[in-house]
């Protein structure tokens, strides 16, 4: 605890490095694409990389800073994606594209935040693995419900049905199906660009890093380290837990909005918003060093690129990926390899990262 007071400078230096890394990445990508060194496959990956980095920041807030395990974060992303895409479909052409997109992103965040808040109230009473399973359950429910949801619009207003598009009772002349059950939302304007995704990423970064170093952030980390001690010094557990959880959901909603506007059709398939996706975000956070925002972003980028780089391996790609994952975890976390690295002075990087993670630095 004493270290907190003296590491104020170190913490801001650490944040500075995180911002610097993101900006450097942005500039390098701009130079590469201006000189034509970036092939189309890599260009297509730029927006997803930002989206996954935002998700890594979001989940790191819950897992690393708040210290609760969430394996349903793709659910918040899904809510944000559908809310934003719904808004864009309804207002397409009614206002300038860029304004509409900004409002859509904000709406995605707000709707996901409302869900995060509502789910957080009952869920945060639980702890540990019970909380994890409820977040998983929530993610699956969201996906399932969206798959049976039909929303259409005609001259008389909106029509909602939970069984089929025919039951909407749309006016034949002016009717338009917006959310079409398992087919989801098609024809969302493709607004997500690398620049906008990067701006959203940096905004999320500013919010989260400032939160971590604020009074509220300290309170949240105190709850993580020892909730009984935190409560006994007067920290309101539910309030701070809910704050962190809701902010995390809002950020996930932003990511969802970007995601929705990067695809021609938005479908709530298990592959996109299911539990595997949530698990993937969790892998980013754990591999990046739990609690380290910068580490989470780096892990998100590397782990998204590995399968793409390994594409030449065809069917062996995901097998290699899983082996790499297991080996990295064993090297990084097992006691024996840590002792070996310490002995050979190789572990300084990892140890440094870990001690910072404990302090809750960036």
């Amino acid at each position: 605890m004493k270290k907190y007071l003296t590491t104020q400078d170190a913490a801001s230096r650490n944040d500075f490095m995180t911002y610097g890394m993101v900006l450097a990445a942005f500039i390098i990508v701009q130079i590469l694409s201006a000189t034509g060194l970036l092939n189309s496959q890599m260009k297509g990956l730029l927006v997803p990389l930002c989206i996954y980095s935002i998700m890594a920041i979001s989940l790191n807030l819950v897992v690393g800073i708040l210290g609760e395990l969430s394996i349903g974060h793709a659910g918040f992303m899904c809510v944000g994606a559908f809310a934003a895409a719904f808004f864009s479909k309804c207002t397409d052409g009614a206002m300038p594209d860029i304004l509409r997109f900004i409002i859509a992103i904000i709406i995605g965040g707000i709707v996901a935040g409302i869900f995060g808040f509502l789910i957080g109230i009952p869920v945060l009473r639980l702890n540990g693995d019970y909380l994890a399973i409820v977040t998983l359950a929530f993610g699956e429910i969201i996906k399932n419900v969206i798959n049976v949801l039909y929303i259409g619009r005609d001259a008389n207003g909106f029509h909602i049905s939970a069984s089929s598009a025919n039951n909407l009772g749309l006016d034949a002349a002016t009717g338009e199906i917006i959310v079409n059950g398992p087919q989801g939302i098609t024809g969302t304007p493709k607004d997500s660009t690398f620049l906008i995704a990067m701006i959203v990423l940096i905004i999320c970064l500013v919010v989260v890093l400032n939160l971590i170093h604020s009074r509220d952030g300290r309170a949240i980390m105190a709850i993580r380290d020892n909730h009984i001690a935190a409560e006994s010094v007067g920290i309101h557990l539910t309030k701070y837990k809910l704050t962190a959880f809701t902010i995390s959901a809002v950020i996930a909603g932003f990511a969802g909005a970007l995601y929705a506007h990067n695809l021609a059709s938005l479908i709530a398939t298990p592959a996109r918003f299911g539990y595997n996706m949530s698990i993937m975000f969790l892998v980013f956070v754990v591999l990046g060093g739990i609690g380290s925002t910068r580490g989470a972003i780096i892990a998100a980028v590397i782990l998204t690129l590995i399968p793409e780089v390994l594409r030449f391996l065809a069917n062996y790609r995901m097998l290699i990926y899983s082996i790499v994952l297991i080996v990295i975890m064993l090297i990084n976390w097992s006691q024996r390899s840590r002792a070996w690295m310490e002995q050979h002075k190789l572990g300084r990087f990892i140890y440094k990262k870990k001690s910072k993670a404990k302090e809750g630095g960036a």
Partner: protein, 293 residues
């Protein structure tokens, strides 16, 4: 009325399969304190081994089933030794969770490479077809599933309560350090737990594919999650809880599919879980652990 009972019995059948898987989950959690996300994929491996032995190699059915059990037991123990044991004392419990996810990917993709992605038709291991009891026509697999699960739970309870290794497992689940001070080999006990859990997963895989005869590398994923839910539902770490949780979950799923909405059956299952956890935050039979300061 007849259709209600048919649905109920189908639910119990599915539930008893969930129960067998959930018991594996809950035992590993109770003793090794980890969520073994690869458990669902061991089910799939068990089903594939028996499929290869029976349908491809033409071995007799009992031999195929025993082969699957042996293969999964070995696999479970090897996974534990290679991937989980080095991380048992890691600083964060999440480390071993992520490794388990890695193992899960590894098993799924290995199966994908060996067997391909197109679903295989699994031939039921139950030799008899439907049985007529009064007005009800009950499929043979249903009877076998329910019977096997009851036998397994009874045997497991007897093993834990009446044998030395069983008592060692109980001791490890209560206090690992105290158990090792009493001369119990904690490592050995954890290995034994993984062996038993994996063997049960193999049996569950054979039964699952006999009842729902489509076998692909992702067959185990969803039943694995459902069984995990069942284990939490009953109070994770409790064997009777896992049994009850599995049965309740299976019945809710089938009845929900039949009477409410077939597309929303998963959402119904998960909603019930959330509601139960709100009123009983440690599941139906979970122990409330008082935290000491």
């Amino acid at each position: 009325m007849v259709s209600f009972f048919t649905n109920l019995i189908n639910g119990l059948s599915l539930g008893s399969i969930y129960a067998i898987i959930a018991i594996g989950y809950t035992m590993v959690y109770g003793i090794a304190r980890m969520l073994n996300f690869a458990h669902g994929d061991i089910i799939m491996i068990g089903a594939f081994v028996s499929y290869t032995a029976i349908s491809s190699m033409g071995l007799p059915t009992p031999l195929g089933v025993i082969g699957a059990i042996v293969a999964c037991t070995v696999l479970g123990v090897v996974i534990e030794k290679i991937a989980y044991k080095p991380l048992r004392k890691a600083a964060s419990p999440l480390a071993v969770l992520i490794t388990a996810i890695g193992v899960s990917y590894f098993l799924q993709n290995s199966a994908l490479l060996i067997f391909g992605s197109d679903p295989k038709m699994y031939k039921s291991v139950v030799p008899f077809q439907n049985v007529q009891i009064g007005p009800f026509l009950i499929p043979g697999t249903t009877i076998v599933s329910i019977a096997v699960s009851i036998i397994l739970v009874a045997a497991l309870q007897a093993f834990i309560n009446n044998t030395k290794p069983g008592q060692a497992m109980l001791a490890c689940s209560q206090d690992r350090d105290a158990a090792s001070l009493m001369g119990i080999s904690v490592n050995g006990t954890i290995t034994l737990t993984f062996a038993i859990g994996s063997a049960m997963a193999a049996i569950a895989g054979v039964l699952l594919c006999s009842a729902y005869p489509s076998l692909s590398p992702t067959t185990g994923a969803m039943p694995g999650i459902k069984a995990f839910v069942a284990a939490v539902f009953g109070g994770i770490g409790s064997i009777p809880g896992a049994m009850i949780g599995g049965l309740v979950l299976g019945v809710i799923e089938i009845l929900g599919r039949a009477y409410i909405s077939s597309q929303l059956s998963d959402a119904i299952v998960f909603s019930v879980l959330i509601i139960v956890l709100l009123f009983k935050p440690t599941g139906l039979f979970g122990k409330v652990i008082q935290e000491k300061v």
